[in-house]
């Protein structure tokens, strides 16, 4: 089992948590659960409700739409991140390419956490706004 500090090290590389302080990430780490998936297991399927995000601790996870591969998530990579903020159904499926160990953050737990920790909310919003700004910059929209 990973300790809180070890989980924080993993979480700080996730894009949406980049602006959350490491101390606050310890709260996120506290709701993150480790579990195993066997090879070939379907972690979630296309059009499933978005209910959690994942970080690969061991193994590989294939993200695909039907038979078309979108990407492969390897160790320390996160996937399904936007499920934490979005009620839309999953747009890809996730399948374990090998026996996997995953870190899972449940959406409802995360929303509860945000409601009680304004600092985490601020950090997440800052990261999202930063992403939007970068996107706006790429498509040539002026700063607002």
């Amino acid at each position: 089992m990973l300790t809180i500090v070890e989980k924080v090290i993993l979480l700080q590389s996730v894009d949406v948590f980049s602006e959350v302080s490491t101390e606050q990430l310890a709260h996120v780490a506290a709701i993150a659960e480790e579990y195993d998936e066997p090879q070939g297991a379907r972690i979630y399927s296309e059009a499933d409700p978005s209910d959690a995000m994942y970080i690969v601790l061991g193994g590989k996870v294939r993200l695909h739409r039907g038979d078309t591969e979108v990407t492969v998530a390897e160790v320390e990579m996160a996937f399904g991140t936007w499920a934490l903020f979005d009620d839309e159904l999953r747009v890809v499926s996730a399948t374990a390419l090998a026996p996997c160990r995953l870190l899972r953050i449940d959406k409802e737990d995360f929303i509860e956490l945000l409601a009680d920790n304004v600092e985490i909310t601020q950090g997440v919003l800052k990261a999202v706004v930063g992403r939007l700004r970068a996107l706006a910059g790429r498509v040539g929209v002026g700063r607002g």
Partner: protein, 901 residues
């Protein structure tokens, strides 16, 4: 030895990082320019005095002013779009060619006008070359670096001036006066080349361009700093000319032959520049740091005033030379360095134009005015040159006055520069005061915009008019409930029963707020007693009507509640289940505060209701009642996410009476964090001096996280209640605490190993975050002692990530803060180490972190520890297994397992 010189320069001027590398070429270029000047000056003086004598000196100075003014205008126009470095590259060789022409044509047989022309040319060269070199210096350093680097550059210039003077004295006998001009040609060309070396600061092109285009156009008119710089530079030039004429007159009276005059000039300038160099090395950096820009600018005029007064009282040679000695010694060292700093808040194009205008046009104008004054005094009034000292004293008084205004404008310029980062949105509200306004609001009722209709109805609520009735009646059937409510309120204000029929229908409206408004209308406007009408609704047996009647009581006649609601009736309502039951209980809860019987069981039951709507209404009722027995329950509700907003309002409504309970909650470690955080927000709403004193006292003992909450509370109290007093005595220790914590964290970062592994990177990041938190808290304390907006803007500048903006923010704070605060805050912002803190960092660098008061830092430090490395580390990790914080304990277990222990 080779390494010793840079080290000495770095220490003497406090230069940091690569500042020496960047300042050195500018200092050399400036040295070469001044060296050439001090070769040319004695040559010019000797040639002029030898040919025309001192009597014609004011005339040539007047000519200098006239030609200088015209040339400056042309020079400024031609040079406007060019960069300073490029201008040096073009202009210096051009001036060198002109000097070669003078060398060819001047001499004993040369025409007299050419001597006049050479005098003017030397002056112009001095102004233009010096101005361009300082423009380059301004483009290479930001506001903070300039304080250190400008002293070094000034020293380079003075060293050049000494070399130039001494060289003249030694070489003139061998080479002859005219051939010295060719040496200057070489110096100018080398200076032009060396000045190309330093790289200008990177300023974001887009923002600079956007701001500058507007600023250049309006800068002169809009900038008070530039406005006050004009008289300051002009008066300084007037004084300089009069001092120069006095000096030349004394030399002319004392030394009879041209050779002796030349020898004296050479000797005087060499000694003067040596004094200036020593002053520059020892005095300038210290005076600038200790006195700040404002006071440093006063050193020259005040010293000149004293020197002139002495020279007037005791007219012996040594004393008579005093004003010129002060002028020559301080003007090009301290005064020049301080004056250059004044341009820093300006954008580059504006700065460039301003400097050219001030250094050339205004300086020449001042020279001209000074020359005319001297002519008036000596030729028209036939006074002795010594009496010019009296005029000097008057002009210097004006100079001092203007300098104080310049400093104020300089601070304001920084303030404005920081403010530009922020938008100040203004809320505009329409004032309803005349028929035209009413007409426009009535017209707005036809709008398709629902918000606009609701807003217009709100504004019309107090207007009695048939037109209002006609417009409001159709809105009673509007699809938006808020508009139906507002329409009923507007009609409530009208005489008669125009809406009675519609109100009867709206009593059964789907929206409870509409039902209450309709019932209120019917109770007040229908025939019969109000109480009877209300009773009818309460006894109707229809849950919706009963709830609306209760809502009507709560909103309009809470004092009559007990008359209408018997305990049996209340008990029956509390038994009601389902959604209707919730609505009934909520309305009942709104009335609970009006019940005089404290033991009323209903109230107790409502405070435990599962529905947040009911609970929220009960809390609001408790807030209205303000009974002391409700305070503990209200404090508990601060942790309930669904009703904490109401709980905060209710507790704040108690005012200062609730302060002891709030203090107890904050100081009791058993009280959950969520409640303590809520308490801090309640305190922010109790705008009383007692609250300020309590929170300030609590903040001093609070741990870092809670201290931030309490400081936020104080900031809000100040923002909402400007009259409250914030005692410096209580706040200074807080600032001191944060500055020390910040310094300690900086020292720990310095001591830590280079972060290459993920655990080390985590610790490094955590240390950086803690520094940021300490910085925020320090600024929040400053926001209580100084104008909050200024401090907030300075904070944004400091954390902007933009080096130039940060330097400007620090410079602004340096001028805004009182001396004691400045001494603490500025080194913190510049991340200067505190010796006392560094000395306390003994043993392995991880140990102080593992013993930190901050649990998260302890956990990160323990995670980085290798218990097999040192006994002290192993002992500390062992101790961490008994840490009060679970994360630290868990981490210590892991580390010991990892180390096989």
């Amino acid at each position: 030895m080779a390494a010793g010189v840079p080290l000495a320069a770095t220490r003497l001027f406090g230069l940091r990082g690569n500042e020496l590398v960047r300042a050195l070429p500018v200092a050399i270029a400036y040295g070469l320019v001044l060296a050439s000047m001090y070769v040319l000056k004695p040559a010019r003086n000797a040639l002029f005095l030898g040919r025309f004598g001192v009597e014609q000196l004011p005339y040539v100075l007047l000519l200098v002013a006239l030609v200088g003014g015209v040339s400056a205008a042309l020079y400024g126009r031609a040079g406007r779009p060019a960069q300073a470095r490029r201008m040096v590259l073009v202009l210096f060789p051009f001036l060198a060619v002109q000097l070669v022409v003078f060398w060819l044509l001047l001499g004993d047989q040369g025409p007299g006008w050419l001597v006049y022309a050479f005098y003017v040319w030397v002056n112009l060269y001095g102004l233009v070359a010096t101005s361009l070199i300082w423009l380059i210096a301004n483009s290479v350093f930001d506001a903070r670096e300039a304080r250190r680097a400008f002293g070094f550059i000034g020293a380079g210039g003075i060293a050049g001036a000494i070399v130039g003077g001494a060289f003249t004295q030694l070489a003139v006998a061998h080479l002859g006066t005219l051939n010295l001009l060719l040496i200057c040609v070489v110096a100018m060309l080398v200076a032009a080349a060396v000045a190309q070396l330093p790289r200008p600061l990177d300023v974001p092109a887009t923002s600079a361009r956007r701001r500058n285009s507007a600023e250049v156009g309006t800068g002169w008119a809009a900038s008070p700093l530039l406005f006050w710089l004009v008289p300051m530079v002009g008066l300084a030039a007037v004084v300089s000319v009069i001092v120069d004429i006095q000096f030349n007159a004394v030399v002319a009276e004392t030394f009879t032959t041209v050779d002796r005059k030349t020898a004296f000039f050479g000797q005087f300038f060499a000694v003067l520049n040596l004094f200036a160099l020593v002053f520059q090395l020892v005095g300038t950096p210290r005076i600038l740091r200790r006195l700040g820009v404002g006071n440093a600018l006063l050193v020259l005029p005040v010293s000149l005033a004293l020197g002139s007064a002495l020279a007037f009282v005791a007219p012996v040679l040594a004393v008579a030379l005093l004003p010129k000695s002060v002028d020559g010694g301080v003007r090009h060292s301290l005064h020049k360095a301080a004056s250059e700093i004044l341009y820093l808040p300006l954008s580059d194009p504006l700065k460039q134009r301003a400097k050219l205008f001030l250094d050339s046009t205004i300086d020449n104008l001042g020279t001209g005015v000074g020359a005319v004054l001297a002519l008036l005094m000596t030729s028209v009034l036939t006074l002795h040159h010594r009496h010019l000292g009296l005029v000097l004293l008057v002009v210097i008084a004006g100079w001092v006055l203007v300098t104080t205004r310049v400093h104020r404008a300089y601070v304001d310029a920084f303030r404005q520069a920081l403010l530009r980062r922020e938008l100040d949105p203004e809320a505009h509200r329409v004032e309803l005061s005349d028929a035209a306004s009413i007409q426009s609001l009535l017209a707005a009722l036809d709008s398709d915009n629902d918000r606009q209709i609701a807003y217009s109805l709100q504004m019309l609520a107090s207007v009695e008019s048939e037109a209002v009735i006609q417009k409001a009646l159709p809105l009673l059937s509007h699809s938006v409930a808020e508009i139906r409510v507002q329409a009923l309120r507007v009609l409530q204000a009208q005489p008669g029963q125009s809406a009675a029929e519609q109100a009867r229908a709206l009593v059964a409206d789907e929206d409870p707020r509409v039902r209450v408004a309709a019932m209120y209308y019917l109770c007040t406007r229908s025939d019969g007693e109000r109480a009877e009408r209300l009773r009818e609704f309460l006894d109707s047996g229809n849950d919706e009507l009963v709830a609306a009647a209760l809502g009507c009581l709560a909103e309009h006649w809470p004092d009559e509640a007990e008359r209408h609601l018997t305990p049996t009736f209340i008990a029956e309502l509390l038994e009601r289940q389902g959604a209707a039951g919730v609505v009934l209980r909520r309305e009942l809860a709104r009335l609970a505060g009006s019940f005089s019987d404290p033991s009323l069981a209903a109230r107790e039951q409502l405070t435990r209701d599962e529905s947040p709507a009911v609970l929220g209404a009960a809390i609001e009722a408790a807030g209205r009642r303000k009974a002391p027995e409700h305070v503990p329950w209200l404090l508990q509700q601060l942790a309930n996410r669904q009703v904490r907003v109401q709980a905060r309002s209710a507790l704040a409504g108690y005012g200062v009476r609730v302060l002891p309970a709030l203090r107890d909650a904050l100081t009791n470690p058993e009280v959950p964090k969520a409640i303590r955080r809520g308490v801090a927000r309640v305190l922010a709403r109790i705008g009383h001096q007692k609250t300020v004193d309590l929170v300030a006292a609590l903040a001093l003992d609070a741990p870092a996280g809670e201290r931030l909450q309490l400081l936020k509370t104080l900031n809000k109290l100040r923002e909402r209640n400007p009259r409250l007093r914030f005692d410096r005595g209580r706040l200074a220790p807080l600032l001191d605490d944060e500055v020390r914590l910040h310094a300690r964290l900086v020292a720990l970062c310095r001591a830590a190993d280079k972060p290459v592994t993920p655990p080390a990177r985590l610790l490094w990041r955590a240390l950086g975050e803690k520094q940021g938190e300490a910085l925020e808290r320090a600024f929040r304390v400053l926001g209580l002692l100084y104008p909050p907006k200024d401090i907030y803007n300075a904070y944004l500048g400091v954390v902007s990530g933009n080096r130039v903006v940060k330097a400007s923010a620090i410079e602004f704070l340096d001028n805004l803060l009182a001396r004691d605060d400045q001494r603490q805050v500025v080194p913190m912002l510049e991340a200067e180490p505190l010796p006392a803190v560094d000395e306390s960092m003994e043993g392995h660098w991880l140990l102080p972190l593992m013993r930190s008061r901050d649990a998260w830092l302890r956990a990160c430090a323990v995670f980085n520890a290798d218990p097999t490395l040192l006994e002290s580390i192993r002992d500390q990790v062992q101790q961490a297994r008994r840490d009060p914080d679970p994360i630290v304990r868990e981490t210590a277990d892991l580390v010991l397992r990892r180390g096989g222990m």
